[in-house]
């Protein structure tokens, strides 16, 4: 790195934190919230289940059941905090790692498998669930989200406490893309009710965040004239509080807002990646001490808000979820070749129709080879 100093594990003085890595409640002048024991148990459960599903996804890939898996390990608090800050009418635009946000929007982990098994490009209904399909081309979704949020505004759905808002997820690496910039320009100029939620997990594959910026990413917002906040992305309470505030700002018409959730990618970039080639295990060890789930568990115990039975039950639920996921995955049927030509357009194209007909005709010449697959 030519410029800048690397101090990955420290978020700096501006970091909003409500629950320390040691499980202590910290107060914050601007973003404090009250949580009930039940709420906190719910957040804990979310994180444990999401992590379990994530680990199962990883295992399924290792066993050849998935082509690739994109782990969220370490980012559970950032995602569950943000996800639980959303209201049903709020819209989310994920990148490709937001299995935790998906969970909060009611997308089943099984719905996500198809992308990574290669049977579909995303199977859920983004309109009905208000959770857009995963976007793989880095940064694209920031503009799509800006447009959607502009639409919320144009429809008069913004301006009071019943307003709607949108949240878009992207990584630290993504901040370099022109589309993310343009998304910020548009949102600022059109007062779009959009929360830019950057999970700074310190790495863009092998590149540390210093390859993308000299200064903390939340400061980017200043240049556009809207607030930027850095939150402890491993603190589910802080993520919840800050995102809830930001979404509320937006639904009241005071958007956009940038949130930088300062977190860490504890696993590889994807199952195809080998992080030992570019980062030291020390770093991972330091971050393990800030584990997003552990601090909640400690706090629940300290406060006597949860007993062993609760933890056991969550564990059992997690195991069940994982078993279900595995069961579902190994039984997923291969798609039928006709699927190649399916719904390319709303109004079918004669070109696609010709190619489909010719190809199916060609296939019918083979007695059995291509018999399988679901239509």
């Amino acid at each position: 790195m030519i410029a800048g100093l690397r101090a990955t594990t420290e978020g700096g003085a501006d970091l909003v934190q409500l629950l320390s890595p040691e499980g202590e409640r910290v107060s914050h002048p601007a973003f404090d919230i009250e949580v009930t024991p039940e709420e906190l148990r719910g957040l804990y459960r979310d994180m444990v289940l999401v992590r379990r599903a994530d680990r199962e996804g990883n295992a399924l890939q290792r066993q050849g059941q998935l082509g690739i898996w994109v782990p969220l390990l370490g980012q559970e608090a950032a995602q569950i905090g943000a996800g639980r800050a959303m209201r049903p009418n709020d819209m989310a635009f994920p990148s490709y790692r937001e299995h935790g946000v998906a969970w909060c929007k009611g997308i089943q982990p099984t719905d996500i498998l198809g992308i990574f098994r290669g049977t579909d490009h995303g199977s859920w209904d983004p309109i009905a669930t208000r959770f857009h399909l995963y976007t793989i081309v880095i940064g694209n979704q920031c503009l799509n989200a800006a447009g959607y949020a502009m639409g919320q505004r144009f429809e008069g759905k913004v301006g009071d406490d019943d307003g709607e808002a949108t949240i878009v997820f992207f990584g630290d690496g993504a901040t370099s893309q022109g589309d993310v910039h343009e998304g910020m320009v548009w949102s600022a100029v059109y007062d779009a009710p959009l929360v830019f939620y950057c999970q700074n997990n310190q790495w863009a594959i092998s590149e540390p965040v210093e390859r993308q910026t000299r200064v903390p990413l939340y400061e980017r917002a200043r240049g556009y004239g809207f607030p930027g906040i850095r939150v402890d992305g491993n603190d589910v309470l802080a993520c919840l509080a800050v995102t809830r505030w930001a979404m509320d700002e937006c639904r009241h018409g005071n958007g956009p807002v940038l949130i930088e959730a300062f977190t860490y990618r504890m696993d590889a970039h994807t199952t195809s990646d080998d992080p030992t080639r570019y980062r030291l295990s020390d770093e991972l060890e330091a971050w393990k001490l800030k584990d997003p789930i552990e601090r909640v568990r400690v706090h629940l115990v300290k406060q006597q808000w949860a007993d062993q039975e609760f933890f056991d039950q969550v564990q059992a639920e997690a195991d069940e979820l994982a078993a279900h996921l595995r069961e579902f995955c190994v039984n997923m049927p291969d798609p039928h070749p006709e699927r190649i030509f399916s719904r390319v357009y709303a109004e079918e194209s004669p070109v696609v129709r010709r190619e489909r007909d010719e190809f199916l005709d060609y296939l019918s010449g083979f007695a059995d080879a291509h018999a399988g697959g679901e239509r």
């Binding site: 800006a146 447009g147 589309d179």
Partner: protein
């Protein structure tokens, strides 16, 4: 579900016949679509107060307001990318790209999102977005203002691509494109913006994705689109004097191609000349030629020939008369075809 409009477009019976330029016809088409559906939005650079650098959106912001006709920040990825988001929200955005050469900063959003979201979501997300692009040369402009980028889009699965060539088509095709639930890249031949025709809003137009025989003839077939259509019709008139009887087909839709009429014609004439301003390599004209030699193999009495812009960057405008296919070059190719 197919867009309802393709088969039975809305007709404006009772509206009166008038002489209009293509720019005006496009404006009227936009206006009709905006009146018919409050979800139709217009976005682009200078489309509001100024009415677009070619005045195609003239008066729309005044009549429909700033939330339906948006002067956007200056960035094409932003225009396309937010239009996609608006479409996800249920709007039907019509984007203006100011000139052909400026579509490229928005190319990624077009190829990666606009073209793919319907397929990716298996129809759960529709993309009724129109991208209007004034295209082609002949107006004496500086670099990047005279290009013919249609082949990039025709090559992209998931997009539909059309080009109008006259005011009447312009009026109808614009409304049909906006009514389509698929993304349509809509090419407008900018040097024909000020040509006039009698527009009768009472008629029933042809479907959007269809080509059309404009002139019948038996000597050879000439297929073209956009700005070249007038050139080819003029060439046909000139050829007549030499006893050569050209059939002229306006392709109108570049993706999907509607080649039925071309095949029929070539089966009769045995000869085909394709005309386009775009560079030839790996282009729409190459696709048409390839399909025709395949479907009309036994009918062809000469190879399919092309008259196109050259495979060079668009030249300084003092040279564009040479660069662009003109009447002479079309006739020269016809002669070559007839000589086989």
């Amino acid at each position: 579900m197919a867009a309802p409009t393709m088969e039975k477009p809305r007709t404006n019976e009772g509206a009166k016949v008038q002489t209009v330029t293509m720019a005006k016809a496009l404006n009227m088409g936009l206006r009709a679509a905006m009146e018919a559906d409050p979800k139709v939005l217009v976005l682009g650079e200078d489309v509001g107060k100024l009415g677009g650098v070619f005045r195609v959106t003239d008066g729309l912001q005044k009549d429909f307001g700033e939330q339906r006709v948006l002067d956007t920040p200056l960035a094409e990825s932003g225009i396309i990318g937010t239009a996609i988001g608006l479409a996800i929200r249920g709007f039907r955005p019509v984007c203006e790209i100011q000139f052909d050469g400026f579509v490229f900063p928005g190319f990624d959003q077009i190829v990666s999102q606009l073209a793919k979201l319907h397929f990716r979501s298996q129809g759960k997300v529709k993309m009724p977005v129109v991208v209007r692009i004034p295209f082609g040369g002949g107006i004496g402009a500086v670099e990047h203002h005279s290009e013919s980028p249609e082949s990039y889009f025709a090559h992209t699965a998931g997009l539909k691509v059309v080009a109008c060539s006259n005011p009447i088509d312009a009026y109808w095709m614009m409304q049909q494109a906006i009514a389509s639930d698929d993304p349509v890249i809509f090419f407008e031949p900018k040097r024909r913006y000020w040509e006039k025709a009698q527009l009768d809003p009472g008629i029933t137009p042809d479907p959007l994705f269809s080509s059309r025989v404009l002139r019948q003839g038996g000597s050879a077939t000439v297929a073209c689109y956009g700005p070249s259509v007038k050139t080819c019709l003029d060439a046909a008139t000139a050829a007549e004097e030499d006893g050569i009887d050209l059939e002229v087909i306006d392709l109108r839709t570049l993706s999907p191609l509607d080649l039925g009429p071309v095949f029929d014609s070539v089966r009769r004439t045995g000869r085909l000349v394709l005309v386009s301003e775009a560079p030839s390599e790996s282009s729409v004209t190459a696709e048409v030629a390839t399909r025709v030699q395949q479907e009309c193999f036994y009918s062809l009495e000469a190879p399919v020939l092309r008259v196109t812009g050259f495979d060079t960057p668009y030249p300084p405008s003092k040279l564009e008369e040479d660069f662009l296919p003109d009447l002479d070059r079309v006739l020269h190719a016809v002669d070559r075809s007839l000589a086989y």
